[in-house]
């Protein structure tokens, strides 16, 4: 009895949490709404974003993963910065869901020679 009640509360709480996440991050909400958009990824290896240019459908979540021994960031080239990750240490990931079509140039703000772009169609 107790455990059922507990489970009920848990479901309720997680339901609220989900609503909050979706509400706070419009990108994620849109991604959920748009079904079957496969996620995409960009590898950070040898001070390079690969692929340097990635074309995706609107609603795609792109994940960057740092495979270098040195930290990197993923930051939009110009203001306002659509993308702005924290410093990613080795094997750290950063994800962003692109809801609006357009071209999103970005760079590593620590090693500015590293540049890439996401084209959202």
């Amino acid at each position: 009895m107790k455990s059922t009640l507990f489970a009920g509360i848990l479901i309720l709480v997680s339901g609220i949490a989900l609503i909050q996440i979706a509400g706070g991050r419009p990108g994620l909400a849109a991604a959920n709404a748009q079904e079957n958009v496969a996620p995409a990824s960009v590898a950070i290896d040898n001070f390079t974003f690969a692929p340097a240019t990635l074309t995706v459908r609107a609603g795609t979540t792109v994940t960057w993963m740092n495979r270098d021994d040195i930290p990197h960031t993923v930051v939009s080239t110009s203001e306002p910065r659509a993308l702005k990750s924290k410093a990613l240490d080795t094997d750290d990931k950063f994800s962003f869901t692109f809801t609006k079509p357009g071209t999103y140039p970005y760079f590593c703000s620590i090693h500015p020679k590293m540049t890439g772009k996401i084209i959202v169609q």
Binding site: D69, I70, P71, A87, D89, I110
Partner: protein, 324 residues
């Protein structure tokens, strides 16, 4: 312009790679790690000596002023290239403490930490407490200003500094200038000083006599070593222009984890080795990431940057050649 700089740079690289290096000479440098640089100002001219050649340095007479440059301690780094960067920094401190003449102070040219974490800075502070020179002057590297544009760094090390953390001070008639070129970097670009800092620099040196020896220190090299890897500073020529009238200008940098030197007119450029891990010679690897080499090869690989220093084939190379 950029091409010319690259060519110049390649010249240096070829010098130390294709000259039938005397390997016995540099294999004597047992401790590659913990390398720092002893700087001696004599007759207004700065000379630098790698601390990996300590027995030879001890025999050298002191000048008017000597200090030590250490760089790129990368506290917090724990990958195979060097899983114990605290231990190698302690080696550097031991070498500093073993100098016959106590240096006036220590300059740390940045990348004190690997990930800007408070505990990383704490560890470095703790280790450097054991050094006989009690004064340590810092400029930040890009690893020290992650996620906060250097606010924490300035709170710790930048008391009395201006803007992004630049400052100057005088010791025994030498004017020292600490510059910051790791903040607000632009996509596709190199290190940046920025107009505010350049304006401050102009005012800072305005009232100095041209005979005043100048020492400039900053993390990213203020000369174009290898722009393809970001080893240079976009507006460094503007800074150097402001220092043109001075008879002796020494520029000390870190960032590239290997020693390199050149002289242009009255300006001598030096980069220091890292106390943590080596990086490849310009263009000699897929990226400038940490060099991972088998332990028994480590000394020879690291020795190359030392030879680069010692051999002095480059017409303009100076300093450690006198130690041979």
């Amino acid at each position: 312009m950029a091409t010319e700089a690259t060519e110049k740079n390649n010249e240096i690289v070829y010098d130390h790679n294709g000259d039938g290096i005397d390997r016995r000479g540099f294999l004597k440098c047992m401790a590659w790690a913990g390398t720092g640089t002893l700087c001696v100002i004599q007759g207004g001219i700065l000379k630098s000596y790698s601390l990996s050649r300590l027995p030879e340095i001890i025999k050298k007479p002191a000048g008017e002023l000597s200090f030590v440059q250490i760089s790129d301690s990368h506290m917090g780094f724990n990958k195979p290239a060097n899983p114990d960067v605290a231990a190698t920094l302690r080696v550097a401190v031991d070498k500093i403490n073993a100098l016959a003449v106590e240096p006036e102070f220590i300059l740390h040219t940045g990348d004190v930490s690997h990930l800007s974490r408070p505990e990383e800075f704490d560890t470095v502070d703790q280790i450097l407490k054991a050094a006989t020179p009690k004064n340590v002057f810092y400029v930040p590297g890009e690893h020290d200003v992650l996620d906060d544009d250097g606010q924490q760094f300035r709170e710790r090390y930048g008391k009395g500094s201006l803007g992004a953390g630049w400052y100057s001070f005088d010791k025994k008639g030498v004017h020292f200038i600490g510059l910051v070129n790791v903040i607000n970097l632009k996509a596709g670009g190199l290190g940046t000083l920025g107009p505010d800092q350049l304006k401050w620099l102009r005012d800072d040196v305005k009232h100095l006599k041209s005979s005043t020896p100048i020492v400039v220190f900053a993390h990213i090299p203020l000369w174009s070593i290898y722009p393809e890897w970001g080893w240079g500073t976009d507006d460094s020529t503007q800074a150097l222009e402001l220092l043109k009238r001075f008879g002796s200008v020494s520029v000390l940098n870190g960032h590239i984890h290997q020693t390199m030197q050149k002289t242009e007119g009255h300006v001598t450029f030096h980069t220091a080795a890292s106390t943590a891990f080596p990086q490849p010679a310009p263009g000699k690897a897929a990226s400038p990431g940490p060099m991972k080499v088998p332990a028994d090869h480590l000394k020879s690989v690291l020795g190359i940057s030392d030879v680069n220093f010692v051999r002095g084939h480059h017409a303009l190379a100076v300093t450690d050649s006198t130690l041979e």
